[in-house]
């Protein structure tokens, strides 16, 4: 028994076998790197809006995934020489396994990307992040949790699967073990030793998987102690704790806050007195349809600098679509919008608007802050990181400056104590205030609010509207889509009422809300007021 164990141990450390293990690892490592990169490209191609690109990627995956890797290897090794391409054994194995891995990892990566909520990329686009930056900073970090287990499976399969390559003269572990068995017939001992070597290698992969999964498990970020307790050390340097002077804010129990107006004016480049007479935002004859359904039918509107315009209307009236056209989150079928006299992501060619290639830069340059109904905070980033993301990665600010600005903004909206928290640990009202801070951090010249309070519990609406009111007082140019009649009445300079893709009436709130001319406006206001009464009545 002892002798058998000794013999087994001897084979486990047998250089001839270990050399084979090393070969397997080398091939798998290089092929995995190449395969994952190519797989990422294929996954993106599969998600492309351009049909031929999708088909190309699909065909590749269909073919490679559908044919045995053994045949692919033999083909690469023995058929390519016919056309003058003679790859050596190692190269053939690496290329063959990488091409194969690409097909499989493309689908795993695509699955990971699809698992990330679309709201994430919409928010990233609104802040001028390019598709690649969005992928790298927002989508992939969140997709990693879904991608990693599949990738670890593939890596382990590949390490073991390199044995197929013995047909093209790769002398890896299994093949070498078979040769020893072919010579001495001690299949049990030799195969057991090979099995142990494989287990050691695959255990290393499993451990790496565990480490990476922790690394990309952003839910651990809010309480890093868990990870630290598990590993005895921190896997990730946390964002430096906030050691900045407490901002001049007076947080109340509800988080009601007072903005530091002087500082905010410098931040947003609005030091008063620069009011322009011509409208800041101009929309002309805007048409938009989804399929056969016409959403906007020739809408004209303007917003002056420093003006607060509230857009109201029943759902399906086209108000959100109109709002999203301002920063080109929605494309325009016909008509045009200018902000400060510029098209955003369009150029005029022969009198017609054409989309320009670099939409992201155009959005970034326009500096339009956007706040979403469902907050659309980046789920894997803390409140502070959410606010810092666009300034650092889109506008190229230094981390120090962005950190300083973000800290002050979060303090201002009453969230100093939550700066290191992930969005899922915040209430809806808190999340929306982070959303506002995030929009302010890019020094916006215009703020778009898309039903900012619709997704909130009634008792949380107030804290968000309080921030909006103060922004309005500051002279910020704002377009707000909302059903909050009280807010519109008190804060709006102008109210636009929309229905069925057109503007029904517009004017000062006293006119549109206080004395609506149109029956449709009156009916809508009645409905909203009844609903508001119910909401208020409920908690009582």
């Amino acid at each position: 028994m002892l002798d058998s164990l000794k013999e087994l141990a001897g084979y486990v450390v047998q250089p001839f076998l270990l050399a084979g293990a090393l070969t397997a690892l080398e091939i798998a490592a290089v092929a995995m790197v190449g395969g994952v990169l190519l797989g990422l490209a294929l996954a993106l191609m599969r998600l492309s809006p351009v049909a031929p690109v999708r088909w190309l990627a699909w065909s590749y995956i269909w073919f490679v995934r559908g044919t045995p890797v053994l045949l692919q290897l033999v083909f690469l090794y023995d058929a390519l020489p016919i056309i003058g391409i003679k790859l050596d054994t190692f190269t053939t194995a690496v290329v063959g396994f990488a091409l194969n891995e690409a097909a499989f990892s493309a689908e795993i990566i695509r699955g990971g990307i699809l698992s990330v909520n679309r709201s994430q990329s919409i928010a990233a686009s609104a802040f001028g992040m390019s598709p690649l930056l969005t992928l790298r900073r927002i989508i992939l970090p969140q997709a990693m949790r879904a991608i990693l287990p599949g990738m670890a499976n593939n890596t382990i399969s590949m390490i073991k699967g390199t044995s197929i390559a013995s047909v093209i003269f790769v002398n890896e572990l299994t093949f070498r073990a078979q040769q020893i068995v072919g010579q001495n017939f001690k299949f049990f001992t030799v195969f057991a030793a090979a099995g142990i070597i494989y287990l050691v290698m695959t255990s290393a992969i499993a451990a790496l998987q565990a480490v990476l999964e922790r690394r990309f498990n952003f839910e651990l970020k809010g309480n890093p102690d868990d990870a630290a307790r598990f590993f005895g050390f921190r896997l990730r340097t946390a964002v430096p704790a906030l050691a900045l002077p407490a901002p001049a804010v007076k947080p109340s129990k509800r988080g009601a806050v007072e903005l530091d107006k002087v500082w905010l004016k410098t931040l947003t480049g609005r030091d008063g007195g620069s009011e322009r007479s011509e409208p800041f935002v101009v929309g002309r004859r805007l048409w938009k349809s989804y399929g056969n359904r016409e959403v906007l039918k020739g809408v004209d509107f303007t917003v002056k600098q420093g003006e607060v315009v509230v857009i109201m209307g029943p759902s399906g009236s086209g108000k959100s679509t109109l709002l999203r056209m301002v920063n080109h989150l929605e494309s325009i079928d016909d008509g045009e919008i200018t902000v400060e006299g510029n098209y955003i992501g369009y150029a005029k060619v022969n009198g017609a608007l054409r989309s320009v290639g670099d939409l992201a830069s155009a959005r970034a340059k326009a500096r339009i802050g956007m706040v979403f109904q469902h907050f659309n905070l980046f789920d894997h980033l803390t409140a502070l990181e959410n606010v810092m993301e666009a300034p650092v990665h889109v506008h190229g600010e230094t981390r120090e400056k962005a950190l300083d600005t973000a800290t002050r903004l979060l303090g201002m909206v009453g969230l100093s104590n939550h700066a290191d928290h992930l969005p899922h640990r915040l209430s809806g009202g808190q999340q929306q205030r982070v959303g506002i801070a995030r929009a302010l951090a890019i020094s916006p010249r215009l703020m778009l609010f898309d039903e900012p309070t619709s997704a909130l519990d009634p008792e949380l609406v107030g804290e968000v509207l309080a921030v909006l009111r103060q922004l309005a007082d500051l002279g910020m140019t704002m377009i707000v889509v909302t059903h909050e009649i009280g807010f519109a009445r008190d804060v709006a300079d102008r109210v636009i009422f929309m229905d069925e893709g057109g503007i029904v009436e517009e004017g000062p709130p006293a006119a549109v809300i206080g004395n609506p001319k149109h029956e449709r406006t009156r009916r809508f206001l009645r409905l909203v007021e009844e609903k508001t009464d119910e909401d208020v009545a409920l908690p009582a």
Partner: protein, 291 residues
């Protein structure tokens, strides 16, 4: 002096004859001797090449790992290959891969020769040229003391027989099984194996009664585990075993043929056979087969 003249004449005749004999003998000996230094004149296209020999290293006694150093390859085929290319005057490099990938690699030009229990068949000769040097023999491997008393292929009806998947032996078993059934005897229960050691384990673990494969292999199994196996029978077949060379490499084919002829004549081949306890009666005067 008459006599002396006569003697002189005789002597001179003897001398001429002796000289002639000697010269002819010298010439013949020259033919049957290796001249690696003449590579450039004999086979100019091969100058500067390192011959890549495709082998699988897992087919004893033809190609296997040296038990004292797994990095070395030994075996009848590998030793013959080394001797042949030393004789030609070319360095060699062994490429070790699984058996089924060897001939395709030679055809594709990734390797120069396959020298590893390669049976000549007209089918294979369409893809590669052969230099044959050995007549294959088949052996029947059974458990120790031959419990099923299998003495020849006449005793196989109703036994559990195993052969390599797609091998000639499998076809033989299928043929025989049909004959058994036709003769009203039980059919042969045929199991195929993916690699040869796996086949031997079928017999050892009593999952099969008879394994039929190349006699050299069968003898290796018995030598390695004499307590487990016995030889049931052996049959000298008409199969020729040889070296596979790509069709477009005629000079290499010729060089291998010339070298094998010398090795067969000068006793090198016999010595190698002896080293691996291989019956030299299986040796075959070398010839080139291209069809």
């Amino acid at each position: 002096m008459q006599i002396s003249t006569g003697v002189k004449r005789i002597l001179s005749i003897v001398a001429v004859a002796t000289a002639a004999t000697f010269c002819v003998g010298q010439a013949m000996a020259d033919d049957m001797k290796c001249h690696p230094e003449q590579l450039a004149t004999k086979y100019p296209s091969l100058v500067g090449k390192t011959i890549k020999i495709a082998t699988d290293g897992a087919t004893p006694p033809y190609s296997m790992r040296d038990p004292n150093n797994f990095d070395n390859l030994i075996g009848l085929d590998n030793d013959m290959a080394r001797a042949a290319f030393a004789c030609i005057g070319l360095p060699v490099d062994f490429m070790v891969g699984s058996w089924s990938g060897l001939l395709p690699a030679v055809i594709a030009g990734q390797a120069d020769v396959m020298w590893d229990t390669l049976y000549y068949t007209p089918e294979r000769a369409k893809e590669a040229d052969f230099v044959v040097y050995l007549r294959a023999a088949t052996g029947g491997l059974v458990q120790k003391n031959n419990p099923k008393k299998i003495k020849s292929l006449d005793d196989v009806c109703g036994v559990r027989a195993t052969a390599g998947l797609g091998s000639t032996e499998e076809a033989v078993f299928r043929d025989l099984s049909a004959k058994c059934v036709a003769a009203g005897k039980p059919e042969i229960e045929i199991v195929t194996f993916p690699d040869i050691p796996a086949g031997s384990r079928l017999v050892k673990n009593d999952r099969a009664d008879l394994l039929m494969i190349d006699l050299g292999l069968v003898n290796s199994f018995i030598a390695a585990d004499p307590d487990a196996f016995d030889l049931a029978f052996s049959i000298l077949t008409d199969y020729k075993v040889g070296v596979g060379v790509a069709k477009n490499n005629k000079e290499l084919t010729q060089a291998v043929f010339d070298a094998l002829k010398i090795l067969q004549a000068d006793g090198t081949e016999e010595a190698i056979y002896k080293k691996y306890n291989f019956d030299h009666k299986q040796a075959l005067p070398t010839e080139i087969l291209t069809k």
